[in-house]
Amino acid sequence: MNKIGEHIRQRAAELLESREIDAFIGFRQGSLPMTTQHYVARSAAEAQNLVWNSFCVLNPTNILPSLLKSFEPPRRPGDPLPDDLPKVGIAVTGCWSRNLAIQFQENQASRKRVIAIGLPCTGMSDRRQILAQTGEMVTEVSETAEDLYFTGGTVASLKRTEILRPNCASCVHPQPVARIMTEVIEGDCINNDAAGRFAEVEEIEAKDSDGRWDWFSSEFSACIRCYSCRNACPLCYCPTCFVDDAKPQWVGKGLNSSDTSIFHILRAYHCAGRCTDCGSCEAACPMGLRLRLLTKKLDKDVVDMFDSEAGVEPFKPLPLSTYSQADPQPFIVQPSHSKGEDS
């Protein structure tokens, strides 16, 4: 971890010093222990503030499109962009690199203007799980490749493998997507068994309809509709979100459970076939909702039905922007006399 952090600082400083890039997106230490925040380094000196630890949970590609746009000169609609716009550097792990692939596909970022540095990822730690074990009084954290050490908590150390975030514990693509990386830092990656990757979803699928509704209504009843999940998500870049629409108003503004449920269904649905399970939404949620379960369910269906995974093949069309004549349609109601004839 420290070696990777050192490498990031050094490369970012070099790239900024040589003016190859004008900004580098990474993380700096947050104001509380076990937190980090997005950080845009704009000079070699600022690059020294970059950190890399197991609490870098917010997806840095989230701020990439707006940062790239900030370098674009004002122009009339339809006017071409100048060719020599400044470049931006970004350090990405497996899931973030797949978000980058999707941003390239959806024209939210230009590949020519991004210097992507691939990082090996051993999984990030779940701050909530740690606080539950150590208590809230932790003042300082240090880490090695295997363990985390706490000052001030009720527990002195924890194994990193025991407090992995659930999305990291079920991650099967920790390697950055090599085809869109400018350079890759070599190192050990987390190695999970692909067989159990959808275990969290299957656990809920096994319930009956009433059980699933009880789970859904209780899980999302705590939602305060702060939209942190949406704001933390690199897939949510629409200038006007459906939640802000007034005519028609798809979701009401209050805390009505129907509105909250529909917000969460639609938010997850908009990520269908695009979500890389980076866990940014859950990390940002102040109420600790397990928002990923909905997007993970969609991931599972996209894999099952369309054999596609978000960002793994960076130049293939996204599953919902393409189709196959052989797509499964077991859900179609058939007229009674032709049942079984039609596929």
């Binding site: 699933r212 129907s258 649905y269 369309f306 599953p319 859900f331 179609i332 007229p335």
Partner: protein, 156 residues
């Protein structure tokens, strides 16, 4: 046959594509095929125009069922609208089932402009399956008072 005056009748919002299914519904009418009067038809340009927002809005507004019907695969007036729609419907149907909405609340079908009889048949099937489920309560924003009372009595 259920007595329309005394028994609870489901309301089913039906989105029909203008080129096939709406014409199919028209044919069912001019051919005098009988089907339950529980559907409320909304014409959409193509099944590919169907956004999950529309389906969820219908459920939120208290629809007991939602049916979306488009042209058969390969017959789309816009060549491929229904193929895109099929991918979306598959995912949305599974997601709604996953969150615990009853399976038959939201249904999808293909009806061509020549299938008046099939249209009547599909509507009968869908109406019966929704009738079995009873009044919608999940995802409904303002559940009518009489349904709430019925639910409370059923739970006791």
């Amino acid at each position: 046959m259920t007595d329309i005056n005394t028994e609870w009748q489901p309301k089913i919002i039906t989105f029909l594509c203008t080129w096939c299914s709406y014409a199919g519904a028209d044919l069912a009418g001019v051919s005098r095929y009988q089907y339950p009067p529980n559907i409320r038809v909304i014409k959409v340009p193509c099944s590919g125009r169907m956004s999950p927002n529309l389906i969820l809005n219908a459920l939120k507004g208290g629809a007991d069922g939602v049916l979306v019907s488009g042209c058969h695969p390969g017959d789309c007036h816009y060549i491929s609208g229904n193929y895109f729609a099929r991918r979306r419907f598959g995912l949305l149907g599974n997601l709604l089932e996953f969150i615990g909405l009853e399976k038959d609340r939201v249904q999808f079908t293909w009806v061509s402009a020549a299938e008046g009889e099939q249209f009547a048949d599909v509507i009968s099937q869908v109406t019966e399956s929704v009738r079995k489920l009873g009044p919608a309560t999940r995802l409904v924003k303002n559940i009518p008072a009489e349904i709430n009372v019925e639910r409370a009595c059923a739970n006791e």
